[in-house]
Point group: C2
Chain length 401, copies 2
């Protein structure tokens, strides 16, 4: 860190190291390479931290960009540097997996606005030498995609074989397909939507208000105080977490089971397993995530509406596309229900795009895309195999399907 860097010793937790000096590779864009944001501000300098898995082939035609969701990061298929848990999409991505890293070169960048090494509100503002806080500009899904495109440029890749992602990752996939038709050979938006619904905006607003209600948030300037709005962020995470599961999943997982006791305590203890589970989800989240990043990223999702720049007609966003699409939804996902995927498919059909649509039967809710769902894996594997054949990639090695 430069001499201008303030004393961040109070923020010695591992996650602050990941903000400023991530353990993954980083590409830094200088003052002379500003990113023009949708809010019309220029962001410079900025950094994009990323991970790769597998090897880029000679003609650079086997690259798959994975786009991560709200609380995800670039550590798709390798251990997380803070939690030391396996990467968040090891179910799908890895050697021999549906997104086979023996065959494909997988790239994932921490999103702009994130807190795992890409520039975000916890990063140092070059004008002040202090973390941006709320001086960080409000960014959009489009801005995230532009930053990723810059990274892909630096990696010397003209066309991505596939862009894939779930939830907010799926929003980025759609934005990629709309902005860079020639650079996306195939695209898989999963459990996503082309615009954020009123109900989803509402849930996000609750989360933001929970963070902002925490006095430790300090109008976004908690970095200097060496504190974080842990309580507020934990509440936000708890509320959001409910929306990631289905009622059926909660019922099957917890029902009305009591936690480590035989009878109710007639108190406000976590008598029920579901309470204990949620509290745990909240408390562990705050150890790895920046509260301001949570505000900025939820805002970007709320702002997302792919119709807006296309005369309010979604189909116009995809007009002329040659990309092969695979749209996936899950039956019990009430955060991004199937009808929202269907709207994407209808728009693609309206412009005669090459699209397949699969609704996966699952009781796991929105989180299903992160979990063991064999039919989902099979769908993605089949889609990528067919696209690879079309793209002229080497066939799947003997003995693997």
């Amino acid at each position: 860190m430069s001499a201008a860097t303030p004393d961040l010793s109070a923020l010695a937790e591992p996650r602050w190291n990941e903000v400023h000096n991530p353990t993954s590779p980083v590409i830094r864009f200088g003052e002379n390479e500003p990113l023009r944001l949708e809010c019309q501000q220029d962001l410079a300098p900025f950094a994009i931290a990323y991970q790769t898995y597998g090897e880029l082939n000679a003609d650079k035609s086997n690259a798959i960009l994975v786009c991560h969701a709200l609380t995800g990061d670039q550590h798709v298929a390798s251990d997380h540097p803070i939690t030391h848990k396996p990467g968040w999409w090891t179910s799908l991505v890895g050697p021999g997996k549906a997104v086979d890293t023996n065959r494909f070169f997988v790239i994932c960048a921490n999103i702009l606005g994130g807190c795992m090494g890409s520039t975000g509100p916890a990063s140092l503002n070059p004008k002040t030498g202090k973390p941006y806080g709320l001086d960080f500009p409000v960014i959009t899904i489009g801005d995230m995609v532009e930053a990723q495109a810059r990274l892909i440029d630096k990696l010397g890749i003209d066309q991505l074989f596939c862009v894939i992602g779930g939830s907010m990752g799926g929003m980025q996939v759609l934005e990629w397909a709309a902005r860079y038709k020639e650079r996306v050979f195939s695209a898989a938006p999963i459990a996503a939507a082309a615009w954020h619904s009123s109900q989803n905006i509402a849930f996000h607003e609750v989360g933001r208000q929970a963070v902002m209600a925490d006095p430790n948030w300090a109008a976004g300037n908690y970095y200097a105080a060496g504190t974080t709005p842990k309580n507020g962020l934990a509440v936000a995470r708890m509320a959001a977490h409910i929306t990631y599961l289905s009622e059926e999943a909660l019922h099957q997982k917890f029902g009305r089971n009591l936690q480590d006791r035989d009878t109710k305590t007639f108190s406000f203890n976590a008598d029920f397993q579901v309470e204990s589970y949620l509290r745990y989800q909240g408390s562990t989240f705050v150890d790895r995530f920046d509260a301001n990043s949570y505000l900025y990223i939820t805002r970007a999702m709320d702002y997302f509406d792919l119709r807006e720049k296309h005369g309010q007609v979604l189909a116009n966003a995809f007009r002329g596309t040659k990309t092969r699409f695979c749209v996936v939804s899950f039956t019990s996902d009430w955060l991004y229900p199937t009808r929202e995927s269907r709207a994407i498919v209808q728009a693609l059909n309206a412009v005669a795009a090459n699209v397949s649509f699969v609704e996966i039967d699952s009781d796991k809710g929105h989180d299903a895309f992160l979990l063991e769902e064999p039919t989902f894996f099979k769908t993605i594997r089949g889609f990528l195999n067919a696209a690879a054949t079309k793209r002229g990639l080497a066939p799947v090695p003997e003995g693997r399907s």
Copy 2:
């Protein structure tokens, strides 16, 4: 107030008057009339504040007990003393309405644990002369019903013509029908459930954690400090409010419409109407409701499981009942979905009870029971008319249906 009453001048807001000296009638039970609670504590003294509408007939056979929901109160069909808005169920209850106060004597009591004059955590603890705070015992739906039964005793009514309520009010209706089979001629549990689901416990826990995360909550002792955990309670209310509406209702009401502006502000302002609406819901709620009451009442709902005292078989709760039931659900209610009403109906059918079940087609979500739903009104009117005939009440006056 007695000489032992502490200085509450810091709490001069109208709602503190309603806690201690409600504008509605109150029946006070003395030290010699304790209420034995399910937690095995005795509560004494205690007060039950209530409202009545219409007139009790000579043989006291026309009394309808209305049970209110989580944030409701006894002011069913008359102006609220704090907000001065019309009572919360004026859509259904009043002269000539489905619950016709020209014909029936309608009683509604503020629930035990509430903050509108019935004893709750904001009431003065006779042992300390200060508000109970968390020294108030954790109460149950059964305890609420016991307190109501004491009130009904004092009013000299042996049998209620009907017990009716929606949401948590419906839970009380079920508890009444199970505990006091001879005292309930007819019962209408609306948009309710016989046990609180895992998902509903989860949402309540988020709300409680939001309140408790507010430093002004002060472990429940905020009364003395003259503060209230407004921010935390507002967040809790916002989260809960989303669950009261359907996604369709939010979409129709707000969609992605912007609030008082033409373009996004690229800020954390309430750009969207739905954000503005939720913030308003949160901020107005804290002016009329006690945060500790919110904790206690949500806890009571979470604890509710009518199967528990009946060998885990719901039907056993109703065995031998002669009560006439009308169970009502709404198609778009995802907080208490139709299948939970169906479980009640199945239990009633299993003991050959007299039950009719109506699922009302509505896009308004859980809140539908409070809103203009003509089919719902017609259902309740028809049910009460038939029950009144059976009970031998005077027929509906000429010209009214």
